[in-house]
Subunit: 307 residues, 2 copies
């Protein structure tokens, strides 16, 4: 049961050699969620061994080019591969219009359906939910409407200790144990005690993606205790004025958010190409929050279910 | 005085690992002409040491994604670099609308002016002309409006043999010699004979770019005797039916065009990702036209002025 984030690109808006703009893929068990799709994402997917056939959900934080310009090429490639399955696209309004205009001029209609889910950047919204996972958006503070995304596993069932279970136990009793409930008879006597026949559920893992944003401590309550948190760190604290002007964060501010939200691990990226030594931004973030790493292109971050 | 074509990408529509879609840059003396801008072109420019600051003219053959999806990212990067100079963009109509819509949603206005030159795909047109070069478009035969481009140096001046020239010769006499004309006095007597004081002009070089197209021998009269010719070769002759259906060419057909047009060198590219051995397409094209090479990514092709 995997929960793995892979960085496909984490460069700033201005491209640099061998640095791709924002794109990440989160594997949760058998699902692959694509988060932002900077230019070149489809080539990066190939490079790191991901098939676009497995992607059914794409999340775009905002409509600055370095976060979505790889989408159209990916959509065309899915079409050329004769995709049939619906594709769910979560984005601020406008991306639908951009896609339709480009399809019009290419005189193309796709082999599959795009289910477009407009994201309201000013609200918290549940974008997707099933038995395993809930995905929420939350407002960030950027020059244009911009959302972060929280991917949270749901609390799982208690785990049956099979070797202790009598062979003749009824299925409905197992179902009760999986909910952590004792099995009692009609007189209220305990037949099977949950604590004896089960182990506690696995830890429900979570990942918070905080795309382009000014320092915004309002997000802390939403991303609190996330196992893994990505936060942009475009500038160093010495350039805080530039950060404020452009609605971006400094590495120090990213660290402060991680500390205030008490996340377990922080990844920083979207570092401006002006900084030739990203380690300096890492040191700055670590001065606030020790468990910080660089979101380096090609790196994968595993979250264990025993976290 | 350089005339160098560099291939930034020559993959087919479906991306393959380490193969970028169509993009080329032609250097003619101090000018850099960008021809088609597939996704990832700005990264490829960086990789091969070209500065986008030097590009003032961009030519887009048609509005299929693999020929223009890298443009928007490049335009944004030029803006982030605070470009001031006008940018001339030659493309089928519609690309202007696509750019404006994306700028609108990014709430951005560029730091420079784009001069948009709509190209009529059904006509031959002179798109650009100065003392050194003339650039023409010509119709190709594709599923949507699509143009080829011919970059032709103009006939240059006769070259003065300086060591033979008397020191007291008048400037207007030099100007006549440079045109290959004898200098005569009022009585019609020859003062300086052009053939004695000059060498013939350098060869005027040319490059023909034949983007996506079905086999279309009508183009031969336009690209005749080009020093260098790129022609797409998406399929092998054994898949000619697919080529016909999709308005593409086979490698054999590309060779046939080169032979009929009597170009000097042929480059083939846009090879479908289905073929794992591009050399087989090269052999096929060579069976028609010996001087064929693969338009491999990162390769440069020099045209000498003594060609």
């Amino acid at each position: 049961m995997e929960f793995i984030l892979t960085i496909l690109g984490s460069g700033g808006a201005q491209p640099a050699q061998e640095k791709h703009p924002s794109a990440q893929i989160l594997q949760v068990n058998n699902r692959f969620f694509l988060i932002d799709v900077g230019e070149g994402t489809q080539i990066q997917l190939l490079r790191y061994g991901f098939s676009h056939q497995k992607i059914d959900h794409i999340f775009i934080s905002h409509l600055h080019g370095d976060h979505y310009l790889g989408l159209m090429g990916l959509l065309f490639s899915m079409h050329l591969s004769r995709r049939q399955a619906d594709l769910h696209l979560y984005s601020p309004p406008g991306l639908d219009e951009i896609i339709l205009l480009q399809l019009k001029h290419a005189r193309s209609s796709l082999s599959y359906r795009i289910c477009f889910h407009p994201v309201k950047a000013e609200e918290n919204e549940v974008l997707f939910e099933d038995e395993e996972i809930r995905i929420e958006s939350f407002p960030l503070d950027h020059r244009i409407p911009c959302s972060g995304f929280l991917f949270a596993e749901k609390n799982r069932q208690y785990r049956i200790i099979k070797e202790k279970l009598p062979t003749n136990i009824l299925l409905q009793h197992i179902a009760l144990l999986k909910q952590g409930k004792n099995v009692v008879d009609e007189q209220g006597r305990i037949l099977f005690e949950a604590s004896e026949y089960t182990r506690p559920p696995h830890h429900a893992r979570s990942y918070a993606y905080c795309s382009d944003t000014a320092y915004n401590p309002k997000i802390c309550s939403i991303i609190r205790h996330a196992d893994l948190c990505y936060h942009e760190a475009t500038f160093m604290e010495s350039d805080i004025q530039k950060a404020t002007e452009t609605y971006h964060s400094t590495a120090k501010q990213a660290g402060r958010i991680a500390k205030e939200a008490a996340v377990k691990r922080l990844l920083i990226g979207h570092i401006s190409a002006r900084y030739k030594k990203p380690d300096e931004l890492l040191i700055e973030a670590k001065s606030e929050f020790e468990f910080t790493e660089l979101a380096l292109e090609g790196n994968s971050f595993h979250v264990s279910r025993s976290s």
